[in-house]
C-alpha cells in the first residue's frame, strides 16, 4: 500500500517532472529520505508475492526489510517488470533490486553485487508423462524459460556466472521458447508432454512449489548449475554497496538470514554446503 500511496500522492499533486539524482549520492538520498526503495517482483512466490492483505511479502521482501532496518530507514517497494530491472535503467527510481538475480558477466557490467543472500539450483522439469530420465534426454527438444533469465542463458549456452568457473552444459535443446514469466512456461508444460513444450528450466524451489500445488511435473537429474542469488545495485555509490554488504553480513552473523530461509523455504539455503 505504501507504493500506491506514494505514487498516488505524486500523481495527484500534478504531473510533475523530477530531475534525476546525481550519481554517487545514493546513500545520502536513502538516509535523507529515510526510505530505501527496493525494486522487486510481485509474481514470485515465496520470494516476493502479494499476500492476502494486498501487501508485498516473502523471503526477498523480508531480507530487504532487514537491510533497511540495519541502515535505520524504512523499506518501500516498487514492482517494475523484470526486463526493466535488468536493463539497468534505474534513474533514481529505486536504490537496489531484490530478485534473486544470478550474477552473470554481462550483468556485472551494469550492476554491482554487494552480497549473495541465497543459493539456488537450476533444475530440469518435465511433465509427469515424459519418458526422459536425465537432462541429456532433452537434446534437441523444445524447452521453455522466462525471457532474459539465467535459465535462458543456460539453454543458449551463454551463461557465465560472475566469479565462478565456466558452466558445463549437459544438453542442447532444439528450440528455446521464452515466456514473459515462469508461470507462462509452467502453464504450457502442464498441458501435456510435448503439446507445447517438452520441458522447462526452473529454480529448484519454485519447481517444488509448483509440484506441491498440483502441477503434473517431475524434476529429473540433479542441479544443473548452482546459482548464487545477489542483490543488485548500480555502479554508483561505493559507500552504499559497502553498507548493503555489511547489512547482509550482519544478518548472516546473527542468524536472521538463515531463520528467514527456513521460514519461507523450509530449510537453510543461504550458504554453500
Amino acid at each position: 500500500m505504501k507504493t500506491l500511496t506514494a505514487t498516488a500522492l505524486i500523481a495527484f499533486g500534478s504531473v510533475t517532472f523530477a530531475i534525476s539524482a546525481h550519481a554517487g549520492e545514493v546513500l545520502d538520498r536513502v538516509l535523507g529520505k529515510k526510505t530505501l526503495t527496493v525494486a522487486t517482483s510481485a509474481n514470485w512466490h515465496p520470494a516476493s508475492f502479494m499476500n492476502d492483505k494486498g501487501q508485498l511479502d516473502g523471503f526477498d521482501v523480508e531480507v530487504a526489510k532487514g537491510i533497511a532496518k540495519y541502515l535505520g530507514v524504512e523499506a518501500q517497494f516498487v514492482t517494475p517488470g523484470w526486463d526493466i530491472i535488468t536493463s539497468g535503467h534505474r534513474e533514481g527510481r529505486w536504490d537496489l533490486s531484490m530478485g534473486q538475480m544470478t550474477p552473470t558477466a554481462p550483468r556485472a557490467k551494469l550492476f554491482d553485487f554487494p552480497a549473495v543472500y541465497i543459493y539456488g539450483n537450476t533444475v530440469v522439469v518435465v511433465h509427469k508423462d515424459s519418458k526422459a530420465t536425465k537432462p541429456a534426454d532433452l537434446d534437441g527438444k523444445v524447452m521453455g524459460v522466462p525471457a532474459g533469465s539465467s535459465e535462458e542463458n543456460y539453454l543458449k549456452h551463454t551463461l557465465e556466472i560472475y566469479n565462478a568457473p565456466p558452466v558445463k552444459y549437459e544438453f542442447t535443446p532444439g528450440e528455446v521458447k521464452s515466456y514473459e514469466s515462469g508461470s507462462g512456461a509452467r502453464d504450457d508444460l502442464r498441458l501435456g508432454d510435448g503439446v507445447r513444450l517438452d520441458g522447462l528450466l526452473d529454480e529448484e524451489l519454485a519447481a517444488k512449489e509448483a509440484i506441491k500445488a498440483g502441477y503434473p511435473f517431475k524434476i529429473i537429474g540433479g542441479s544443473l548449475v548452482s546459482t548464487p542469488a545477489v542483490i543488485a545495485v548500480l555502479h554508483e555509490d561505493e559507500e552504499f554497496s559497502d553498507k548493503v554488504a555489511a547489512a547482509v553480513k550482519a544478518m548472516r552473523e546473527d542468524g536472521s538470514l538463515s531463520k528467514l530461509s527456513i521460514k519461507w523455504y523450509g530449510s537453510d539455503y543461504t550458504a554453500l554446503k
Binding site: T3, L4, T7, A8, I10, A11, V15, T16, F17, A18, I19, S20, A42, N43, W44, H45, P46, F49, M50, N51, D52, G54, V78, T79, P80, G81, I84, S87, H89, E91, G92, R93, S183, D187, A210, A213, G214, Y215
Partner: protein, 324 residues
C-alpha cells in the same frame, strides 16, 4: 432501411431461402470440426452410439442437430417484439459463455475472497489512469484537430507530425520510451504519471483524427453562411460547426475511450498496481491464474458496459432532432 418507413415486408428470419441458407452454412461449418470427443458427442450417445467410434455418421448427426437448433432458434426469435429479441439473444450468448467458463473448473470461493482487493486496488487505479488520460486526450485531440484543419504551416506541420508519430508506434513501446527514454534527457517521471502521459499522447493522436473528420464532414455552405453573417473562426466553431459535428464525433470517440480502458492494462509493465497487474499477481502464489484473469476480464467488461450506456445516452441526446 435504417429508419423504419411505411413499406411492409416479411421479417428476414421468416423468409424460407434465408433460413435454408443459414441451415446449410451452419451444417457445413460444424461438419468441418470433429465434435465427437466433446460433451455434444456424449449428449448424442443415444443416437450415434459410442461417440468416439461413430465416425462420419456421428459428426454428421451432431452437425445436423446443431444446425436444426440454430435455425429453429432464429425463426422463433423473429416472432417476438424487438426488445425481447435482443434480450433473448443476449441471454443465450451469456449461457453459452458461462458453459464455456465452467469447463475451466474455477474455484469460485477463491474469486469471491479476492474480489474486494481486486476492485479496491485494481479498479480504482485503472479508472484513475483512464479518466485522466481521457481528459488530456480530448484536450490534445481538439487542439491538434483544429491545427490540422488550419492554413498555418507551422501548426499543420506540428499536428501532422504528432498524429503520424503517435499512431505509428505500439502503445507499449511508447510507454517504455517515456519511462526509460526520457530520463536520458534528465526528465524522470514515475510509473503512474508516465502511464497517463503515454496514454494521453497516444489516444490524443487518434482523437485528433476523429475530431478532424467530424469537423470536416460539415458542409462548406455552413462556413460560408456563417462568414456571410460576419462570424469569425471561434464563433463559427462554437455556434455552428461543433454542435453539428458532435453527433458525428461521439460514436467513434466513445469507441476509442472504451478501447483505451483496456489499453491502460499495458501500464502494468511499469509496475503500476492496476487491474491487470493485480489479476496476475494475486493468483500467483496459489497458482489460481485463470480465476483471477477471468474475474478481471469480467470487471473490464462491466466497466466497458457502463461506458457504452453513457455513450448511448449522449447519442440519444444528440439524435433528438431525428426523432419523428
Amino acid at each position: 432501411m435504417l429508419y423504419p418507413d411505411t413499406v411492409e415486408s416479411e421479417v428476414l428470419v421468416h423468409k424460407p431461402w434465408f433460413v435454408g441458407a443459414t441451415f446449410v452454412v451452419v451444417l457445413a461449418a460444424f461438419l468441418m470440426f470433429n465434435l465427437t470427443g466433446t460433451t455434444m458427442g456424449e449428449l448424442m450417445r443415444p443416437v450415434i452410439g459410442n461417440p468416439l467410434e461413430s465416425g462420419l455418421y456421428g459428426r454428421f448427426a451432431i452437425a445436423f442437430v446443431i444446425a436444426v437448433m440454430f435455425s429453429l432458434n432464429l425463426v422463433l426469435i423473429g416472432f417476438v417484439p424487438l426488445k425481447l429479441q435482443i434480450g433473448v439473444v443476449w441471454v443465450e450468448l451469456l449461457v453459452l459463455f458461462i458453459g464455456f467458463f465452467n469447463l475451466f473448473n474455477l474455484s469460485l470461493p477463491f474469486i469471491w475472497e479476492k474480489l474486494p482487493l481486486l476492485i479496491s486496488q485494481g479498479v480504482l487505479t485503472t479508472l484513475f489512469v483512464s479518466a485522466l488520460s481521457l481528459v488530456f486526450a480530448s484536450m490534445i485531440g481538439i487542439t491538434a484537430a483544429i491545427a490540422k484543419l488550419s492554413t498555418n504551416g507551422f501548426a499543420y506541420g506540428l499536428a501532422s507530425f504528432y498524429t503520424s508519430f503517435f499512431r505509428g508506434m505500439p502503445l507499449l513501446m511508447q510507454i517504455y520510451l517515456i519511462y526509460l527514454g526520457l530520463p536520458q534527457l534528465g526528465i524522470v517521471i514515475n510509473a503512474v504519471p508516465s502511464g497517463i502521459l503515454a496514454l494521453s499522447l497516444c489516444i490524443g493522436a487518434y482523437m485528433t483524427e476523429i475530431f478532424r473528420s467530424g469537423i470536416a464532414s460539415i458542409d462548406r455552405g455552413q462556413w460560408e453562411a456563417s462568414r456571410s453573417m460576419g462570424f469569425g473562426f471561434v464563433l463559427t466553431m462554437r455556434r455552428i460547426i461543433l454542435p453539428q459535428a458532435l453527433p458525428i464525433i461521439i460514436p467513434p470517440m466513445g469507441n476509442t475511450f472504451i478501447g483505451m480502458l483496456k489499453d491502460s492494462s499495458l501500464v502494468s509493465v511499469l509496475g503500476v498496481w492496476e487491474l491487470t497487474f493485480m489479476a496476475r499477481t494475486i493468483g500467483q502464489p496459489t497458482f489460481h491464474h485463470m480465476e483471477m484473469l477471468i474475474a478481471a476480464a469480467m470487471i473490464y467488461w462491466l466497466m466497458s458496459v457502463c461506458l457504452e450506456l453513457v455513450q448511448g445516452r449522449i447519442e440519444r441526446h444528440y439524435a433528438r432532432s431525428k426523432v419523428r
